[in-house]
Amino acid sequence: MESRIIRAVDGIDFTVREGDCFAIVGESGSGKSTLGLSLIRLCPGDVSGEILIDGVNLLKLSEDEIRKFRGSKISIIFQEPSSALNPVMKVGDQLMEVFTVHGYSKSEAYQKSLQLLKTVGIPEAEKRMQTYPHQLSGGMKQRVIIAMAIALNPRLVIADEPTSALDVTIQAQILNLLKNLSQSYGLSTILITHDMGVAAELCNRIGIMYAGKMVEIGPLNSIFAIPLHPYTRALMSCIPRSLKENLKPLPGHVPDLSNPPKGCRFHPRCPYAKEVCTLEEPNLEKIDDRLVSCHRVGEI
C-alpha cells in the first residue's frame, strides 16, 4: 500500500577488527538502530551491499544459514531490557534457548546458563533462572540480555544503546560489565549510542552517523582531540562533564529520511554551510587516520 521508500541507512562502509570496539554515534533518528538490525539481518526492509564476518557475506546466506549464524557468530543487545525479554517465559528458559537452538542438550544448556548468569554478575543465579522478567530490576534484565548475547562467544556483538534505558548508577555498572567482558572474552563489539561519553568509555574507534550517512570515522582519541565534521563538533559540545548531567539537545531536527535535504544532509543545521553544501553531496574522504565527509573540512 505504501509506496514511499525510506533510506534509513545509506552508503555505509566500515570495518571492525577482532577484539576491537567500534562505536556508532548519532542522534535518535539518524538510522543507527536500523544499521544495527541490518547487520544481523533483522531489519524489516531491504538491505543491499555486503556484511562480511570472517569473509562470509551475511547477505548472501539463506534464511536457515543466517539463523545458525545469529546467536553463535553475531548477536545483539537491545536498548529496552524490559521489552526485549518475553514477559511470560522464565528467565532461565529464555537463556537456555540460545544453547538448545544451537544444538546443546537441555542439561548442558542449564549448566552453561547458570554459569553465564554468574559471569554477568547476577547473584543467586539458580533462583533467578526460575523467575520471570518482571521480577527483575532493569539492570538485572540487561545483564540477562548481555548473557544471552555472549553465550556462544560470538565473533561480533552489537550493543544497541545498552544503557540508555537504565538509571544513571546502573548505567555505569553495565558499562563496566561490558568492558570487562569484552576484555576477558576478546569480543569484537559494535556499540550504538547517542552518547559520546559512553562511546569514549568503551571504544577505540568511532563512527559518527547523521541522517543515515556516516559523516566521520576514525580512532576515538583523534576524533575527541580534533573533531573534523561540524556535526561531530556539535555532538562533542553536548557531552556532559559528568554522567549525572543530562545531554544537552542539539538545536534543530534530524531530517525526514523519506525526503532528505539535497546536498549535504547536515546543511540545514550546519553553521558553516555554503552554497556548495546545499547542492552537492560530499563524499567520505580520507584525512590522516580518519574519513570525513564535508565540503568545508579543510576550511573550518
Binding site: 537491545f78 521489552s83 525479554l85 511470560v88 534457548e97
Partner: protein
Amino acid sequence: MGLCYTVGGKPVLSALKYFFYRLLTLAITLIGLVTLIFILIRSIPGDPARVLAGMMASEEDVNLIREQLGLNQPIYIQYFIYLKNLFTLNLGISFRTDSPVINEIFARLPNTLLLAVTSTCTAVIFGIPLGVIAASKKGGKLDFLLSTFSIAGISLPIYWLGLILILIFSVELRILPAGGSGTPMHLILPTLTIALYLMAFIVKITKASVIDSMEKNYVITAKSKGLSERTILYKHVLKNALIPVVTIIGLQFGALLGGAVITETIFAWPGLGRLIVDSINSRDYPMVQGSIFIFALLYALVNLATDILYTFIDPRVRLK
C-alpha cells in the same frame, strides 16, 4: 474487573483486600440488579394472579390467588421481604409451578451451561489455530479466506444461521435432530450455530493479537538468538497473544449466556434463557427475579474465572 498487577514481585493490592473489594462490588451490582428487575417486572402491565387463574376465572378466585402470592401487600414490603429472603439465599417460590425457584433454575441451568461450554470449546479449538494460521500467513490467500470467513461469521444473524442449519441437516439430510435435548446428537446443531459465530470472533481477535505480539521486541530478541519463525510463534508469541484472547472469550462466554434466549428458542433447548422469557411472559415475578439473579451471578463468576485464568498465563498478574 480490576486486575492485581504486581510491581517488582509485590502485589499492588493485597490479595485479601482485593478479594473483599471484588466481593463488595459484586454485592452492590447484584443488589442494584435485583432492584432494577424488581421494579421492571412489576412495571409491566398484566396481573400474575389473573394469568395463573386463567382468562375465564372469576374475580374472587383471582383475588384469592393474589393473596396467596402475597401480591396484596404494599410494594415496599414485598421488596423488603424479597431482599431479606435473598440474603438467606432463598429465591422464593415460583408463582406458576409452586415449587422453589432454585429447583427450577437448577433443572435448567446445566443445559444452558452445557451448550455454552461445548460451543466455546469447539470455537476455541478451531478458532485459535485458524487465527494463528491467518496471522502467520498474513496477506496470503489463506489469510484472505480466513478473514473473510471470520467477518462473515460475526455479521451473520445467528437466528438465521440456526434456521438454515436446521433446514439442511434436519429436514433435507435428516441426519441431525432439529431440537430438544438428551443425546449428544441433539447438541450438534446448537453447538455448531453458536460455535460458528464464536469461532469467527476468535479467529479475528487471535489474528490481531498474534500480529500485534509479533511486532514486540522480545520477538526480535528471539530471532537474534537464532530461533526459527515457527519456534518463535509457538514458544514466544502464542502465550503472549493468548492473554487478550482469554479476556475476550471470558466476556463472550457471558454474552453467550445472554444470547441463550435466542438459541434456546430456535433449538427448543430447555435452558435458562427460555425459562426467563416464559417467566416474563407469565409474570412469574419470583422466577424472573431469581433466574436473572443467577444469570448475573454466573456472569460475575465467569469474569472472576477469567481473572484467575489470567494468573496462569500471565506471570505478571498474581493473586497470592
